[in-house]
Protein backbone atom coordinates (compact mmCIF):
# COMPACT_ATOMS: atom_id res chain seq x y z
CA UNK A 1 0.00 0.00 0.00
CA UNK A 2 2.08 2.86 -1.24
CA UNK A 3 -0.61 5.36 -2.06
CA UNK A 4 -1.53 7.98 0.45
CA UNK A 5 -5.09 7.49 1.57
CA UNK A 6 -7.56 9.39 3.68
CA UNK A 7 -9.84 7.36 5.86
CA UNK A 8 -12.44 8.22 8.48
CA UNK A 9 -12.68 6.01 11.56
CA UNK A 10 -16.00 4.19 11.24
CA UNK A 11 -16.57 4.26 14.99
CA UNK A 12 -15.74 7.87 15.89
CA UNK A 13 -15.39 9.58 12.49
CA UNK A 14 -11.93 11.03 13.12
CA UNK A 15 -10.13 11.61 9.82
CA UNK A 16 -6.75 10.00 9.32
CA UNK A 17 -4.16 10.27 6.61
CA UNK A 18 -2.29 7.04 6.13
CA UNK A 19 1.01 7.50 4.30
CA UNK A 20 1.94 3.86 3.88
CA UNK A 21 1.03 0.67 5.63
CA UNK A 22 3.56 -2.17 5.44
CA UNK A 23 2.35 -5.70 4.77
CA UNK A 24 1.11 -7.52 7.85
CA UNK A 25 0.45 -4.38 9.87
CA UNK A 26 -2.73 -2.78 11.11
CA UNK A 27 -3.63 0.88 11.49
CA UNK A 28 -5.66 1.84 14.55
CA UNK A 29 -7.65 4.99 15.20
CA UNK A 30 -5.67 7.41 17.37
CA UNK A 31 -8.74 8.41 19.31
CA UNK A 32 -10.89 5.33 19.87
CA UNK A 33 -8.43 2.53 18.91
CA UNK A 34 -10.77 0.96 16.34
CA UNK A 35 -9.13 -0.86 13.44
CA UNK A 36 -8.90 1.49 10.47
CA UNK A 37 -7.14 -0.71 7.97
CA UNK A 38 -5.11 -3.82 8.06
CA UNK A 39 -2.85 -4.72 5.23
CA UNK A 40 -2.88 -8.49 5.27
CA UNK A 41 -0.10 -10.66 4.04
CA UNK A 42 -0.96 -12.46 0.80
CA UNK A 43 -4.63 -11.92 1.58
CA UNK A 44 -6.02 -13.12 -1.75
CA UNK A 45 -4.35 -16.53 -1.83
CA UNK A 46 -4.78 -17.23 1.85
CA UNK A 47 -8.44 -16.34 1.95
CA UNK A 48 -9.10 -18.26 -1.26
CA UNK A 49 -7.52 -21.41 0.21
CA UNK A 50 -9.33 -21.07 3.53
CA UNK A 51 -12.69 -20.43 1.88
CA UNK A 52 -12.39 -23.48 -0.38
CA UNK A 53 -11.53 -25.60 2.67
CA UNK A 54 -14.47 -24.08 4.51
CA UNK A 55 -16.84 -24.94 1.66
CA UNK A 56 -15.78 -28.61 1.70
CA UNK A 57 -16.08 -28.84 5.49
CA UNK A 58 -19.43 -27.07 5.31
CA UNK A 59 -20.87 -29.79 3.05
CA UNK A 60 -19.51 -32.60 5.25
CA UNK A 61 -20.87 -30.93 8.39
CA UNK A 62 -24.35 -30.73 6.95
CA UNK A 63 -24.46 -34.11 5.24
CA UNK A 64 -23.72 -36.39 8.18
CA UNK A 65 -25.24 -36.78 11.66
CA UNK A 66 -23.88 -34.54 14.40
CA UNK A 67 -24.66 -36.63 17.44
CA UNK A 68 -26.08 -40.09 17.95
CA UNK A 69 -27.71 -41.30 21.16
CA UNK A 70 -28.52 -44.75 22.45
CA UNK A 71 -31.43 -45.27 24.80
CA UNK A 72 -34.01 -47.94 25.47
CA UNK A 73 -32.23 -50.12 22.93
CA UNK A 74 -32.79 -47.71 20.07
CA UNK A 75 -30.36 -45.40 18.34
CA UNK A 76 -31.28 -41.95 17.24
CA UNK A 77 -29.11 -39.55 15.28
CA UNK A 78 -29.64 -36.03 14.07
CA UNK A 79 -28.12 -33.81 11.45
CA UNK A 80 -28.19 -30.03 11.73
CA UNK A 81 -31.07 -29.91 9.27
CA UNK A 82 -32.87 -32.62 11.26
CA UNK A 83 -32.95 -30.31 14.27
CA UNK A 84 -34.52 -27.58 12.16
CA UNK A 85 -37.08 -30.01 10.70
CA UNK A 86 -38.04 -31.21 14.16
CA UNK A 87 -38.67 -27.66 15.41
CA UNK A 88 -40.79 -27.03 12.34
CA UNK A 89 -42.79 -30.22 12.91
CA UNK A 90 -43.44 -29.19 16.50
CA UNK A 91 -44.97 -25.98 15.22
CA UNK A 92 -42.11 -23.66 16.15
CA UNK A 93 -41.50 -22.40 12.64
CA UNK A 94 -40.13 -19.06 13.90
CA UNK A 95 -37.29 -20.72 15.76
CA UNK A 96 -36.83 -23.27 12.98
CA UNK A 97 -36.24 -20.37 10.56
CA UNK A 98 -33.96 -18.58 13.01
CA UNK A 99 -31.78 -21.68 13.42
CA UNK A 100 -31.90 -22.44 9.69
CA UNK A 101 -30.62 -18.97 8.82
CA UNK A 102 -28.09 -18.42 11.61
CA UNK A 103 -26.54 -21.89 11.69
CA UNK A 104 -26.82 -23.05 8.07
CA UNK A 105 -27.84 -20.52 5.41
CA UNK A 106 -25.96 -17.36 6.43
CA UNK A 107 -22.65 -19.14 7.09
CA UNK A 108 -23.07 -20.97 3.77
CA UNK A 109 -23.94 -17.80 1.84
CA UNK A 110 -21.00 -16.04 3.41
CA UNK A 111 -18.52 -18.69 2.24
CA UNK A 112 -20.05 -18.80 -1.26
CA UNK A 113 -20.10 -15.04 -1.72
CA UNK A 114 -16.51 -14.71 -0.55
CA UNK A 115 -15.51 -17.32 -3.14
CA UNK A 116 -17.56 -15.45 -5.75
CA UNK A 117 -15.44 -12.36 -5.07
CA UNK A 118 -12.08 -14.06 -4.72
CA UNK A 119 -12.07 -16.44 -7.68
CA UNK A 120 -12.35 -13.79 -10.46
CA UNK A 121 -9.92 -11.51 -8.61
CA UNK A 122 -7.39 -14.31 -8.58
CA UNK A 123 -7.53 -14.27 -12.38
CA UNK A 124 -7.37 -10.46 -12.51
CA UNK A 125 -11.03 -9.99 -13.36
CA UNK A 126 -13.56 -7.84 -11.62
CA UNK A 127 -16.47 -9.90 -10.27
CA UNK A 128 -19.93 -9.02 -11.49
CA UNK A 129 -21.91 -6.79 -9.11
CA UNK A 130 -18.95 -6.68 -6.77
CA UNK A 131 -20.22 -3.86 -4.57
CA UNK A 132 -23.56 -5.59 -4.14
CA UNK A 133 -21.87 -8.80 -2.97
CA UNK A 134 -19.56 -6.96 -0.56
CA UNK A 135 -22.57 -5.17 0.88
CA UNK A 136 -24.36 -8.51 1.23
CA UNK A 137 -21.39 -10.08 3.06
CA UNK A 138 -21.24 -7.18 5.49
CA UNK A 139 -25.01 -7.32 6.09
CA UNK A 140 -25.13 -11.02 6.92
CA UNK A 141 -21.88 -11.17 8.87
CA UNK A 142 -23.39 -10.56 12.34
CA UNK A 143 -25.96 -13.29 11.72
CA UNK A 144 -23.68 -16.23 11.01
CA UNK A 145 -23.52 -18.06 14.32
CA UNK A 146 -21.72 -21.32 13.74
CA UNK A 147 -19.35 -20.73 16.65
CA UNK A 148 -22.30 -20.20 18.97
CA UNK A 149 -23.87 -23.37 17.59
CA UNK A 150 -20.69 -25.29 18.46
CA UNK A 151 -21.02 -24.18 22.08
CA UNK A 152 -24.65 -25.27 21.88
CA UNK A 153 -23.53 -28.74 20.77
CA UNK A 154 -21.07 -29.00 23.67
CA UNK A 155 -23.69 -27.96 26.22
CA UNK A 156 -26.24 -30.42 24.84
CA UNK A 157 -23.70 -33.26 24.88
CA UNK A 158 -22.99 -32.61 28.57
CA UNK A 159 -26.73 -32.45 29.26
CA UNK A 160 -27.44 -35.65 27.33
CA UNK A 161 -24.59 -37.69 28.83
CA UNK A 162 -26.49 -37.77 32.12
CA UNK A 163 -29.53 -39.40 30.54
CA UNK A 164 -28.33 -41.50 27.61
CA UNK A 165 -25.14 -42.67 25.96
CA UNK A 166 -23.85 -40.23 23.40
CA UNK A 167 -21.83 -41.09 20.31
CA UNK A 168 -20.23 -38.23 18.38
CA UNK A 169 -21.25 -38.29 14.71
CA UNK A 170 -18.86 -37.79 11.78
CA UNK A 171 -19.95 -34.25 11.13
CA UNK A 172 -19.16 -33.21 14.70
CA UNK A 173 -15.43 -33.35 13.91
CA UNK A 174 -15.75 -31.53 10.62
CA UNK A 175 -17.97 -28.93 12.29
CA UNK A 176 -15.29 -28.36 14.92
CA UNK A 177 -12.64 -27.88 12.21
CA UNK A 178 -15.01 -25.65 10.24
CA UNK A 179 -15.26 -23.13 13.10
CA UNK A 180 -11.51 -22.52 12.98
CA UNK A 181 -11.28 -22.46 9.18
CA UNK A 182 -14.22 -20.06 8.86
CA UNK A 183 -12.76 -17.71 11.47
CA UNK A 184 -9.46 -17.75 9.60
CA UNK A 185 -11.23 -17.27 6.26
CA UNK A 186 -13.10 -14.24 7.56
CA UNK A 187 -10.04 -12.61 9.06
CA UNK A 188 -7.90 -13.22 5.97
CA UNK A 189 -10.28 -11.14 3.84
CA UNK A 190 -9.00 -7.68 3.05
CA UNK A 191 -11.86 -5.62 1.59
CA UNK A 192 -9.74 -2.53 1.26
CA UNK A 193 -7.35 -4.22 -1.13
CA UNK A 194 -10.30 -5.73 -3.02
CA UNK A 195 -11.64 -2.23 -3.59
CA UNK A 196 -8.18 -1.07 -4.67
CA UNK A 197 -7.74 -3.95 -7.11
CA UNK A 198 -11.07 -3.65 -8.83
Amino acid sequence: MKKKIIIACHECDLLHRIESLPEGSTALCRRCHAVLLSHKKDSLNRSLALNITALILFFISNAYPLIEIKTEGICRATTLMGGVRNLYDQGFWEIALLVLFTAILFPGFEILSRLYLLLPLKFYKKPWHMSLIIKFIQKIKPWGMMDVFMLGILVSVIKLVKMVSVIPGPSLYSFFALIFVVTGAASAMDFHSIWEKA
Binding site: Q90, E94, S156
Partner: protein, 200 residues
Protein backbone atom coordinates in the same frame (compact mmCIF):
# COMPACT_ATOMS: atom_id res chain seq x y z
CA UNK B 1 -16.60 15.00 3.88
CA UNK B 2 -18.59 11.90 4.62
CA UNK B 3 -17.30 8.38 5.05
CA UNK B 4 -19.28 5.64 3.25
CA UNK B 5 -20.80 3.04 5.59
CA UNK B 6 -20.25 0.21 3.19
CA UNK B 7 -16.80 0.60 1.65
CA UNK B 8 -15.37 3.30 3.97
CA UNK B 9 -14.41 5.59 1.12
CA UNK B 10 -14.20 9.19 2.26
CA UNK B 11 -16.32 11.20 -0.15
CA UNK B 12 -16.04 14.93 -0.67
CA UNK B 13 -19.45 16.47 -0.47
CA UNK B 14 -20.12 20.04 -1.42
CA UNK B 15 -22.75 21.75 0.73
CA UNK B 16 -24.78 22.53 -2.40
CA UNK B 17 -25.79 18.90 -2.87
CA UNK B 18 -28.68 17.50 -0.97
CA UNK B 19 -26.97 15.12 1.47
CA UNK B 20 -29.99 12.85 1.90
CA UNK B 21 -29.93 11.71 -1.73
CA UNK B 22 -26.26 10.99 -2.17
CA UNK B 23 -24.55 7.84 -3.32
CA UNK B 24 -20.99 6.69 -2.80
CA UNK B 25 -19.03 7.03 -6.06
CA UNK B 26 -17.22 3.75 -5.46
CA UNK B 27 -19.86 1.29 -4.29
CA UNK B 28 -23.13 3.08 -4.96
CA UNK B 29 -24.46 2.87 -1.38
CA UNK B 30 -26.55 5.69 -0.01
CA UNK B 31 -24.36 7.79 2.22
CA UNK B 32 -25.23 9.77 5.29
CA UNK B 33 -23.30 11.45 8.03
CA UNK B 34 -24.72 9.24 10.80
CA UNK B 35 -26.96 6.19 10.73
CA UNK B 36 -30.49 7.55 10.08
CA UNK B 37 -32.67 8.07 13.17
CA UNK B 38 -30.17 6.10 15.18
CA UNK B 39 -31.38 7.18 18.62
CA UNK B 40 -35.13 6.72 18.14
CA UNK B 41 -34.68 3.42 16.30
CA UNK B 42 -32.43 2.05 19.01
CA UNK B 43 -34.86 3.19 21.72
CA UNK B 44 -37.76 1.48 19.95
CA UNK B 45 -35.84 -1.78 19.62
CA UNK B 46 -34.57 -1.70 23.20
CA UNK B 47 -38.09 -1.18 24.56
CA UNK B 48 -39.39 -4.00 22.33
CA UNK B 49 -36.67 -6.28 23.69
CA UNK B 50 -37.60 -5.37 27.27
CA UNK B 51 -41.26 -6.25 26.66
CA UNK B 52 -40.41 -9.54 24.94
CA UNK B 53 -38.03 -10.42 27.74
CA UNK B 54 -40.96 -10.84 30.18
CA UNK B 55 -42.75 -13.76 28.44
CA UNK B 56 -39.34 -15.24 27.61
CA UNK B 57 -38.70 -15.67 31.31
CA UNK B 58 -42.19 -16.39 32.60
CA UNK B 59 -43.25 -19.07 30.11
CA UNK B 60 -41.59 -22.52 30.04
CA UNK B 61 -38.71 -22.91 27.61
CA UNK B 62 -38.75 -26.70 27.66
CA UNK B 63 -41.14 -29.45 28.69
CA UNK B 64 -39.51 -32.74 29.58
CA UNK B 65 -41.30 -35.96 30.44
CA UNK B 66 -39.53 -38.60 32.46
CA UNK B 67 -41.32 -41.84 33.46
CA UNK B 68 -44.68 -40.24 32.86
CA UNK B 69 -43.97 -37.13 34.93
CA UNK B 70 -44.17 -33.97 32.93
CA UNK B 71 -41.87 -31.17 34.02
CA UNK B 72 -41.82 -27.60 32.74
CA UNK B 73 -38.69 -25.50 32.93
CA UNK B 74 -38.31 -21.76 32.55
CA UNK B 75 -34.89 -20.29 31.74
CA UNK B 76 -34.22 -19.48 35.40
CA UNK B 77 -35.49 -22.77 36.81
CA UNK B 78 -33.30 -24.60 34.30
CA UNK B 79 -30.24 -22.72 35.52
CA UNK B 80 -31.11 -23.40 39.17
CA UNK B 81 -31.64 -27.07 38.38
CA UNK B 82 -28.20 -27.37 36.81
CA UNK B 83 -26.45 -25.62 39.68
CA UNK B 84 -28.23 -27.74 42.28
CA UNK B 85 -27.62 -31.00 40.46
CA UNK B 86 -23.90 -30.33 40.44
CA UNK B 87 -23.30 -29.46 36.80
CA UNK B 88 -22.57 -25.83 37.58
CA UNK B 89 -20.42 -25.26 34.44
CA UNK B 90 -23.52 -25.71 32.24
CA UNK B 91 -25.58 -23.68 34.68
CA UNK B 92 -23.02 -20.92 34.40
CA UNK B 93 -22.95 -21.02 30.57
CA UNK B 94 -26.76 -20.91 30.34
CA UNK B 95 -26.95 -18.17 33.00
CA UNK B 96 -24.37 -16.04 31.19
CA UNK B 97 -25.85 -16.55 27.73
CA UNK B 98 -29.56 -16.40 28.52
CA UNK B 99 -29.83 -14.04 31.48
CA UNK B 100 -26.66 -12.02 32.03
CA UNK B 101 -25.86 -11.10 28.39
CA UNK B 102 -29.37 -9.95 27.30
CA UNK B 103 -29.87 -7.89 30.47
CA UNK B 104 -26.38 -6.40 30.21
CA UNK B 105 -26.97 -5.55 26.56
CA UNK B 106 -30.26 -3.80 27.20
CA UNK B 107 -28.88 -1.84 30.17
CA UNK B 108 -25.70 -0.76 28.37
CA UNK B 109 -27.67 0.42 25.32
CA UNK B 110 -30.05 2.41 27.55
CA UNK B 111 -27.06 3.99 29.31
CA UNK B 112 -25.41 4.90 25.98
CA UNK B 113 -28.66 6.31 24.59
CA UNK B 114 -29.25 8.49 27.65
CA UNK B 115 -25.68 9.73 27.73
CA UNK B 116 -25.80 10.64 24.02
CA UNK B 117 -29.11 12.44 24.49
CA UNK B 118 -27.74 14.38 27.47
CA UNK B 119 -24.80 15.36 25.26
CA UNK B 120 -22.40 14.01 27.81
CA UNK B 121 -18.72 14.22 26.89
CA UNK B 122 -17.40 12.07 29.71
CA UNK B 123 -15.13 9.11 29.01
CA UNK B 124 -15.99 8.59 25.34
CA UNK B 125 -13.32 5.91 24.92
CA UNK B 126 -14.81 3.75 27.68
CA UNK B 127 -18.28 4.19 26.20
CA UNK B 128 -17.02 3.10 22.79
CA UNK B 129 -15.44 0.05 24.39
CA UNK B 130 -18.72 -0.72 26.14
CA UNK B 131 -20.51 -0.52 22.79
CA UNK B 132 -17.98 -2.81 21.13
CA UNK B 133 -18.44 -5.36 23.91
CA UNK B 134 -22.22 -5.29 23.53
CA UNK B 135 -21.92 -5.76 19.79
CA UNK B 136 -19.55 -8.71 20.12
CA UNK B 137 -21.26 -10.56 22.93
CA UNK B 138 -24.90 -10.46 21.79
CA UNK B 139 -24.86 -13.43 19.44
CA UNK B 140 -23.81 -15.82 22.21
CA UNK B 141 -27.29 -15.57 23.71
CA UNK B 142 -28.40 -17.96 20.99
CA UNK B 143 -26.73 -20.88 22.79
CA UNK B 144 -29.87 -21.93 24.63
CA UNK B 145 -31.94 -21.95 21.42
CA UNK B 146 -29.36 -24.18 19.74
CA UNK B 147 -29.24 -26.53 22.74
CA UNK B 148 -33.02 -26.93 22.60
CA UNK B 149 -32.85 -27.58 18.85
CA UNK B 150 -30.36 -30.41 19.29
CA UNK B 151 -31.90 -32.02 22.35
CA UNK B 152 -35.46 -31.84 21.07
CA UNK B 153 -34.36 -33.49 17.81
CA UNK B 154 -32.68 -36.37 19.62
CA UNK B 155 -35.02 -37.08 22.48
CA UNK B 156 -38.52 -37.49 21.17
CA UNK B 157 -41.32 -39.98 21.31
CA UNK B 158 -39.37 -42.13 23.73
CA UNK B 159 -41.29 -44.30 26.16
CA UNK B 160 -39.32 -43.13 29.18
CA UNK B 161 -38.12 -39.68 28.21
CA UNK B 162 -39.58 -37.03 25.98
CA UNK B 163 -38.40 -33.47 25.43
CA UNK B 164 -40.42 -30.69 23.87
CA UNK B 165 -39.73 -27.04 23.11
CA UNK B 166 -41.72 -24.54 25.18
CA UNK B 167 -43.39 -21.31 24.02
CA UNK B 168 -40.75 -19.12 25.74
CA UNK B 169 -38.24 -20.16 23.09
CA UNK B 170 -40.05 -18.03 20.49
CA UNK B 171 -39.96 -14.95 22.73
CA UNK B 172 -36.38 -15.56 23.74
CA UNK B 173 -35.32 -15.93 20.10
CA UNK B 174 -37.08 -12.64 19.38
CA UNK B 175 -35.22 -10.93 22.26
CA UNK B 176 -31.88 -12.04 20.80
CA UNK B 177 -32.76 -10.87 17.27
CA UNK B 178 -34.20 -7.55 18.44
CA UNK B 179 -31.19 -6.74 20.66
CA UNK B 180 -28.80 -7.51 17.80
CA UNK B 181 -30.76 -5.09 15.61
CA UNK B 182 -30.72 -2.54 18.44
CA UNK B 183 -26.93 -2.73 18.73
CA UNK B 184 -26.62 -2.36 14.96
CA UNK B 185 -28.86 0.68 14.76
CA UNK B 186 -26.89 2.56 17.42
CA UNK B 187 -24.21 4.75 15.88
CA UNK B 188 -21.08 4.83 18.09
CA UNK B 189 -19.96 8.04 16.40
CA UNK B 190 -22.72 9.86 18.24
CA UNK B 191 -20.67 9.32 21.40
CA UNK B 192 -17.87 11.39 19.86
CA UNK B 193 -20.04 14.12 18.41
CA UNK B 194 -20.20 15.85 21.77
CA UNK B 195 -16.45 16.15 22.03
CA UNK B 196 -15.62 19.51 20.54
CA UNK B 197 -11.96 19.14 19.71
CA UNK B 198 -9.36 16.52 19.80
CA UNK B 199 -5.79 17.23 20.85
CA UNK B 200 -3.06 14.70 20.44
Amino acid sequence: MISCHNCHLVCHISPLNNPSAMACPRCGSRIHRRKPNSISRTWALVITALILYIPANVLPISISTTMGNSHEDTIISGVIYFIESGSWPIGLIIFTASIFVPVLKILVLIYLLISVQKKSSRRPLDKTRLYRMVEAVGRWSMVDIFVITIIAALIKLGVLVDFKTGPAAVYFGAVVVVTIFAAMSFDPRLIWDNIKEYHE
